[in-house]
């Protein structure tokens, strides 16, 4: 359970982690768990026939790993909104930095909210995903 002190949050605060060395096995595990069996993500022969160097990871895999930013920082139950747009592909052996930054703090009906800018960037500095998330404390009634 994350223990965020909502009152002491500041705009500009950051959260960051890295995943080094994505593999085809990551893609296949996500295919099974997430249900995306597009062969372009697991079948090397198919990917080459489509003119690509190799299979590549699903956008939703990268988006899933990136969701750790709001979920680990504020707790999974606190995630109110999660928005991603896909910019570049995730390739085998990529090292990816996942990060988030508080860009806005506000209240809605007396409940503190934080808006985050989030991104996944590979070792070449290419943005795989750019997105945003809104979090607020979730108190089960």
């Amino acid at each position: 359970m994350s223990t965020v002190d909502w009152k002491s949050l500041k705009e500009g605060e950051e959260f960051k982690f890295e995943v080094n060395g994505f593999t085809r096995t990551h893609f296949v595990k996500y295919a099974g768990a997430g249900g995306d069996f597009n062969p372009i993500h697991h079948d090397e022969t198919f990917a080459r026939m489509a003119g690509l160097e190799s299979v590549f990871g699903m956008g939703m895999l990268t988006a899933g790993v990136l969701s750790r930013v709001p979920a680990e920082w504020f707790g999974p139950a606190s995630v109110k909104k999660y928005t991603v747009s896909f910019r570049s592909r995730l390739w085998p052996d990529d090292n990816v930095t996942f990060s988030g930054k508080i860009v806005k703090l506000y209240e809605e009906q007396g409940v503190p909210h934080a808006e985050l800018e989030i991104s996944a960037v590979n070792q070449k500095g290419e943005t795989l995903i750019r997105g945003s998330s809104v979090v607020r404390p979730w108190n089960p009634s």
């Binding site: 990551h26 996500y30 956008g59 939703m60 988006a63 139950a77 991603v84």
Partner: protein, 149 residues
């Protein structure tokens, strides 16, 4: 392949555990029912992108008939973006029912793949009480050809 479609999308502990592992997340709220209950939740929480597993519970026929309506050329289709908005956390033990909304479409001039046609596909997920708990929007892009990076 036979089209098997169970009614609704069951939110299950085992599936959440598997999904969370696949996105490399060991948060106890995803894996440990006791931890979730200690936080006042009825069961382990589904990660923010968990509802992408909805594909498991949609028959291929249904998916393709939906795409067929959009007249997409599946060779040149990209997933442009995805959004989830939660009224409350989704937890193991409940069943959600998806409802596809009206598709919005618009065009943009692409830098790499010619004219791009955007489709925003909204889906509402309702709980057993008929309440909307998640609003999802997928953005699908039809490009004019293969997009090279």
């Amino acid at each position: 392949m036979a089209a098997i479609k169970p009614p609704g999308i069951p939110i299950e502990r085992g599936k959440i555990h598997e999904f969370a592992n696949s996105i490399l997340d060991d948060n106890p709220m995803y894996h440990d029912t006791d931890a979730a209950k200690a936080a006042g939740l009825p069961g382990v929480v589904a990660p923010p992108t968990y509802l992408s597993v909805a594909a498991h519970f949609t028959s291929e026929e249904e998916m393709f008939s939906h795409l067929a309506k959009l007249n997409l050329d599946l060779r040149f289709v990209l997933h442009g973006g995805q959004e989830y908005e939660f009224e409350r956390p989704i937890c193991a033990g409940e069943t959600l029912t998806p409802e596809m909304g009206e598709v919005k479409s618009y065009q943009k001039e692409g830098k790499r793949g010619g004219v791009m046609q955007f489709y925003e596909i909204p889906t509402l997920f309702k709980d057993q009480n008929g309440k909307v708990v998640v609003r999802a929007t997928s953005t699908i892009i039809q490009t004019g050809g293969v997009v090279k990076e």
